[in-house]
Symmetry: C2
Subunit: 434 residues, 2 copies
């Protein structure tokens, strides 16, 4: 019994694993009845395009005369680095398992799942059209009226349902055990987010020489390093909820009326603030990058305001949704509602709920800072900033973002409202930069 719980991950990428290509993906799909039905016509009529622009996987879009789908296959190494950095294929198992959990919590906010192939470490899922990667939309200056509410819902539903408020202990402990084996991908987060930006590492890079001084200052900033390590310890030890684990704007596909979250291969139990911080960090990076995308025709002022409106709404709606789920009472073993069934009990519990949200806010903005800094001083950068061709202009945006990152990490326990964060971003964006 115990064994079967994680047996699924054992055979991922078996002896017959072979990276798919635009031809073999057809042979892979044709025996699958639901895929054939969805695509329509005969396999010879299907068209294939490999579109994986991420770091770790192959992604094929396959279309037939009736419809389309996506095949995502894990590669045994980090695509952007090459075969010198191997990565276990079982991450495809953890991604699929996480998608199943998220489908239960928020089916309208993730792609539909059609099939998982253990041997090939490949998932067949819904083709999201005409969605584009949110990050690209934010660079273009597109407004997404539903974004804040949808990601707030995604976070609230998933974090609540998989926590000890929403899941009975037996169910949660089993799920946590399963995802605890997602060790290699968790280690990437541990190193790249919380450690490398604060030390010399061959994998770091930054806009040089413009950021050399601030990068060195980060490496010698004791309070900042303590904050980073405290956040790391939280990431390692606080199994509060099943995290998406990589909830940046490149893991969201959106149209103006529809939002979907993809790519949860970093899923692991961790502190709730980590996912919330990842999303907020990437909004703030988009905000600080706007100055680099301003043109004579569009100074991006109103769009920057929209980004901060989205940030503010996101937190406000998340808090509202999470509190409402908690007030309705979850199936979890923490804070059993029956213990607080009288008037004083209900009042006290309601006060406690708000205190919990205040603490969660401080965790979240700490992780926000860490996730901002790593995208400027660490290995993996963001297109929002990278696409600013002029290095001086880019460095200006990056310095502002780093100033904010540090303030959030070191000052998180003295900040208490999302309005404070908005004000801070607006102030820093106006200040002259050394």
């Amino acid at each position: 019994m115990v064994q079967e719980r994680i047996a699924g991950s054992r055979f991922v990428g078996g002896v017959d694993y072979k990276a798919l290509n635009e031809h073999s993906v057809i042979d892979f799909l044709s025996p699958l009845e639901n895929a054939s039905k969805l695509l329509g016509g005969t396999p010879t009529t299907w068209t294939v395009r490999e579109v994986g622009d991420g770091n770790l996987n192959l992604v094929f879009i396959v279309k037939g005369n009736k419809g389309g789908l996506v095949v995502k296959q894990a590669l045994p190494y980090v695509r952007m680095v090459g075969e010198s950095w191997p990565l276990p294929l079982d991450r495809a198992y953890f991604e699929h398992e996480a998608l199943k959990v998220q489908t239960l919590a928020a089916p309208h906010l993730v792609p539909k799942l059609y099939h998982f192939d253990t041997m090939q470490a490949a998932t067949v899922m819904e083709l999201l059209e005409p969605h584009i990667i949110l990050r690209k939309g934010l660079i273009k200056g597109i407004r997404y009226p539903k974004l804040a509410a949808d990601i707030a819902d995604f976070c609230a539903l998933n974090l609540f349902n998989t926590s000890d408020l929403g899941s009975p202990a037996a169910e949660k402990r089993e799920r946590q055990a399963r995802f605890s084996h997602n060790i290699t991908l968790s280690k990437i987060t541990e190193d790249l987010v919380f450690t490398d930006p604060y030390r010399l590492s061959d994998m770091n890079r930054w806009t040089t020489p413009q950021l050399d001084k601030i990068a060195a200052a980060f490496r010698n900033d004791a309070p900042l390093k303590l904050a980073a390590q405290e956040l790391k310890w939280m990431f390692l030890s606080r199994g509060e909820a099943l995290l998406h684990g990589d909830l940046h704007t490149g893991s969201i596909m959106a149209t103006e009326s529809n939002t979907r979250v993809i790519d949860p291969e970093f899923a692991v139990y961790g502190p709730m603030g980590f996912d919330l911080g990842a999303f907020m960090a990437n909004l703030l990076l988009a905000f600080f990058a706007q100055e680099g995308h301003a043109t004579k025709e569009d100074n991006r002022e109103t769009y920057r305001t929209w980004i901060l409106d989205t940030l503010e709404s996101f937190w406000t709606l998340f808090e509202e949704k999470f509190l409402s789920l908690w007030s309705k009472g979850g199936k979890g073993d923490a804070f059993l509602p029956t213990l607080f069934n009288d008037d004083t009990g209900e009042v006290a519990l309601e006060a406690y709920r708000h205190m919990t949200m205040a603490r969660l806010f401080q965790d979240a903005i700490g992780f926000t800072g860490a996730k901002m800094a790593r995208r400027i001083l660490g290995l993996a950068h963001v297109e929002d900033l990278e696409s600013i061709a002029d290095p001086d202009r880019r460095a200006l945006c990056e310095k502002r973002a780093l100033t904010m990152a540090r303030a959030l990490m070191v000052g998180r326990t003295s900040l208490s409202t999302i309005g404070d964060i908005r004000d801070m971003a607006e102030t820093i964006a106006k200040e002259p930069v050394a």
Copy 2:
């Protein structure tokens, strides 16, 4: 690979499982070479005594002409309740696994392991002689000069080594996954320690009618119930270290010069403060029980002082030892020492270490309170108090202990030194009781 990590627990108590008796335990041992060697002579000369006075297991002491050993076998139900409360046999697996981990961290403070039999859910281990259960020693008024230092070492070594300070993330995540499957025994803790004492439950009992009023007050005390549930949430979600999980004075065997910790079948990853609180709670219960054991010849005044001296030394030595392990640098991924290699870094980290201990102290005293209350209002009581025959006299001790329990749980964030705790115990012990 992933599968093999926990495969050990799968076959515990297989089809051929049979509760051992004083005869069959000889047949069980005789094929084991190391056991035979240890005991000496032929199996027909071995003597057996069943001594299990705990709640869940059979314990046989087997002796030969050369030496002795212990066979501990899990029963498929709670012994003190009967077959109506079934319990999974795989707890023997978790106990043995925990003993192996503890043997690596602190071999001198646990019994030697000789053999584990998966099918029979039985462990063969060192016979501790002339040790007695510490709780019985505390009732008798025996002083243990090494106790504080030994349990401080046991806690510091085990909690540090299995935490993210002492274990690399890959090792810790695997270990946490393994012990996360110890679901049923964890659930007993969750219910009996953190929930039942604060609600009506058929399993609760207390000295009645003397404690009826205070028991009702506990069930209607909103701040106290919030504290209990907050501690429960911590127990459920903070995987800081591998806990012993049941570190009361009945899980310690001692002579005046030697101390061993036994029975880690509740082992699970959880907050470090839980183990520390368990031990401190049971010292405080012993302290408040002394008044019930006082006689004309011995008013137990100096012994009570010794118990509080032990409590104070325990925390002081634990803190010292934990800080010294941390200062030397662990193998863990949190707070990598290399990040703080310069002068300001070292100073800042040292300050942070002390802040961490201050937080841990507050966690620990919160759990202390919870572990005291559950032994007076919940299902499982302690002999320290139960052995006070006069119910009025017992109730007096219990009321004082409950007063302290509540003060620790609700006031934990405003208490900061072990001296405060000692003073509180001394004050409460002198106050008149309603």
